[in-house]
């Protein structure tokens, strides 16, 4: 029994496009973002609509490869392809685009992208543990604030920032509550549905409506739990997915895992806990920019060195979600996640003694068969009902 609201989420990306177009016609500004480090609070406080531009579809990659080298990550190629072909309405509608210097491929891609849209690239510190990191990042946020004010012709007051922080936090709390419901065994929501519901965040024009929809879904999922329902059999192996960001269009691994007998109960990635797990401090006495800076520097992304926070988060999630196995996804040519896979593997093995499968792939379907064999073998290895 699939919660009814899921039907709404399925169509949301398309529907929001129309809403976005209307909003634009009535004079609202749209700001595109690529990454979890981008502070949507600033965009909201500027009265603009934040949209996510991170490419998650295979379709525009061929076009991107006419310009970009082939051996970079599909996420970068997809993002770039969408931008240069005009096939992504969200990019098309964006008045301003914010990039950030996370990985090398992305930051250099932004230099090319700047030829297509007004854009600003935020410079991240490499390690959040350095004493200079927070002041640096806070400085970067004020620079962005200035750029936003200048480009959009607005002033961002501390009060509007505080309000935006509250709004963002409540959105995050709602999505986190939804994710937490999957701690039940068997999971009430499939991994694919959880991703679909979370993904809408990036295309939602009206935040409050989006939060209400998530809350409605939460109500329905709770009913599913009460009635003892689940899309899975009891004892279906519970899997945690970690690694590179996944979105609708690049969900092939989640599909494979669930079609071949697994249940993806949670995500330690940008579509999941990596960003849900921490709120911006709402304390009114604080400088709101500093509070935002502090929060985003805690994001355990592989672009940071060291990135121990990811291992801590993984450990907590493995326990809380009582997972049977960990799948670590690397998009081809993503060096940071690919190298970090070795740390993840060792950490999971040494501390939890549960199996960990590292897979490297792209957005295409050319390796589905090979992936299927690995995924199925992994599930056979986790499955307590068999052999």
């Amino acid at each position: 029994m699939r919660p009814e609201s899921m039907n709404i989420f399925d169509d949301l990306r398309g529907q929001n496009m129309v809403v976005l177009e209307n909003a634009k016609q009535s004079g609202r500004k749209v700001v595109g973002m690529y990454c979890a480090y981008c502070p949507q609070e600033l965009v909201l406080a500027a009265g603009a609509i934040p949209v996510s531009l991170c490419g998650t579809k295979d379709e525009p990659i061929a076009d991107a490869e006419k310009v970009l080298p082939r051996n970079i990550c599909p996420l970068i190629k997809s993002s770039f392809g969408f931008a240069i072909t005009g096939k992504c309405p969200y990019f098309y509608f964006s008045d301003f685009v914010i990039g950030e210097t996370t990985c090398d491929g992305k930051k250099k891609m932004f230099e090319l992208l700047g030829q297509h849209k007004p854009m600003h690239v935020m410079h991240l510190p490499q390690g959040a543990d350095r004493p200079g990191a927070l002041p640096w990042w806070k400085e970067e946020l004020s620079l962005l604030k200035e750029r936003l004010e200048e480009t959009l012709g607005v002033t961002i007051s501390d009060d509007s920032l505080r309000e935006a922080i509250k709004l963002s936090n409540s959105e995050q709390l709602a999505i986190k509550e939804l994710h937490d419901l999957n701690k039940f065994d068997p999971a009430p929501l499939s991994g694919l549905d959880l991703l679909t519901a979370t993904f809408m965040k990036g295309f939602n024009v009206n935040k409050l409506e989006g939060i209400a929809l998530v809350n409605k879904l939460i109500g329905e999922v709770k009913e599913v739990i009460e009635q003892g329902g689940s899309p899975f059999q009891p004892d279906t192996p519970r899997i945690l997915l970690t690694g590179c960001p996944v979105g609708i269009g690049s969900e092939k691994l989640i599909r494979l895992l669930e079609e071949n007998g697994g249940s993806v109960v949670c995500f330690e990635s940008c579509s999941g806990y990596k960003t849900l797990d921490m709120l911006v401090d709402e304390d009114e006495r604080r400088d709101p920019l500093e509070a935002i800076a502090e929060r985003s520097l805690k994001i355990p992304c592989s672009c940071m060195t060291p990135n121990e926070g990811r291992l801590d988060l993984l450990g907590r999630m493995i326990g809380e979600y009582r997972v049977d196995g960990v799948v670590d996804l690397t998009w081809q040519a993503c060096h940071t996640y690919n190298v970090e896979a070795e740390l993840v593997r060792g950490y999971v093995k040494d501390n939890f003694d549960i199996p960990c499968l590292h897979l490297e792939t792209d957005y295409s379907s050319s390796d589905l068969q090979q992936l299927k064999t690995r995924v199925t073998a992994f599930i056979e290895l986790l499955d307590k009902r068999w052999t």
């Binding site: 090979q370 064999t373 073998a377 056979e380």
Partner: protein
């Protein structure tokens, strides 16, 4: 209790029928129809054993063509089946190296045939049976002759792992007048090294079982043993490991259900 395991590989389809501790096997080229090859090995086995299909209690299909066999009771991956089969052929083996037609795998087990970890080559054919086939063809010999031709030869360095590039490398080595046996030895070493790199990522292993079609090649086996520094067991039935595993898992399944 009678069970059957059918391993539909990309080149050869293998089947094992187990009846208590007695077993029978058969194999044939997969050809273009994995489904038909699966059907035929089953019929052949039934013929040999003088049984009807109704006498079979459980059939497990494995290998790349496993899903096409609609008469099987269950499909399982070759990774799970090879691990179990290798344990049957080499009891106690905790590292199984399986090099087949299209892919190579290293599988770690608990020493009782249960998979604990595994790794598989990626999309390309480097280090697989197909790689050896292409190289043999480039040198105008049959794969089955490779080991003999390379015996005692000092391997020449083959630097490319890509099948296409390695082929041109081999052709230019031949043109330079390098002895064929040395080139073949180099190829054996490069296949082995590729698999060793995969294995060493995951662990060590005490007793290694080598299965799959390439296990018949003495040259690859030798370089594997040298690089891993351990004894490698190749059973005469190693090609049947997957089918054995499938038949054994089927039997265990029935025993468990009792």
């Amino acid at each position: 209790m009678i069970t059957v395991g059918i391993d539909v590989g990309s080149i050869t389809t293998k089947a094992v029928l187990m009846n208590g501790s007695a077993w029978q096997s058969t194999l044939r080229p997969t050809g273009y129809s994995p489904r038909q090859a699966g059907r035929e090995v089953l019929d052949e086995l039934l013929d040999k054993a003088g049984l009807a299909q109704a006498d079979i209690d459980y059939i497990i299909a494995t290998g790349y063509g496993r899903i096409t066999l609609d008469f099987a009771d269950k499909a399982m991956t070759e990774i799970t089946c090879h691990a179990r089969g290798a344990h049957h052929l080499a009891p106690g083996a905790d590292l199984v190296i399986d090099i087949g037609g299209q892919d190579s795998k290293v599988i770690f087990t608990d020493g009782y045939g249960n998979v604990t970890d595994f790794s598989m080559n990626d999309k390309c054919a480097a280090g697989t049976g197909r790689f050896l086939q292409v190289m043999a063809a480039a040198m105008g010999v049959d794969v089955s002759e490779l080991a003999e031709l390379a015996r005692g030869m000092e391997p020449v360095q083959i630097s490319s792992m890509c099948t296409v590039f390695a082929e041109s490398e081999v052709i230019s080595l031949l043109a330079e007048g390098v002895e064929r046996g040395r080139i073949i030895a180099g190829i054996h070493r490069s296949v082995a090294n590729r698999v060793v790199a995969m294995a060493e990522r995951i662990g060590k292993g005490e007793l290694i079982a080598f299965t799959g079609g390439v296990a018949k090649n003495e040259g690859v086996k030798e370089y594997l043993a040298k690089a891993l520094g351990r004894e490698i067991v190749v059973s005469p039935e190693s090609q049947l490991a997957g089918a054995f595993g499938a038949a054994i898992i089927a039997r265990e399944k029935l025993l468990k259900a009792r």
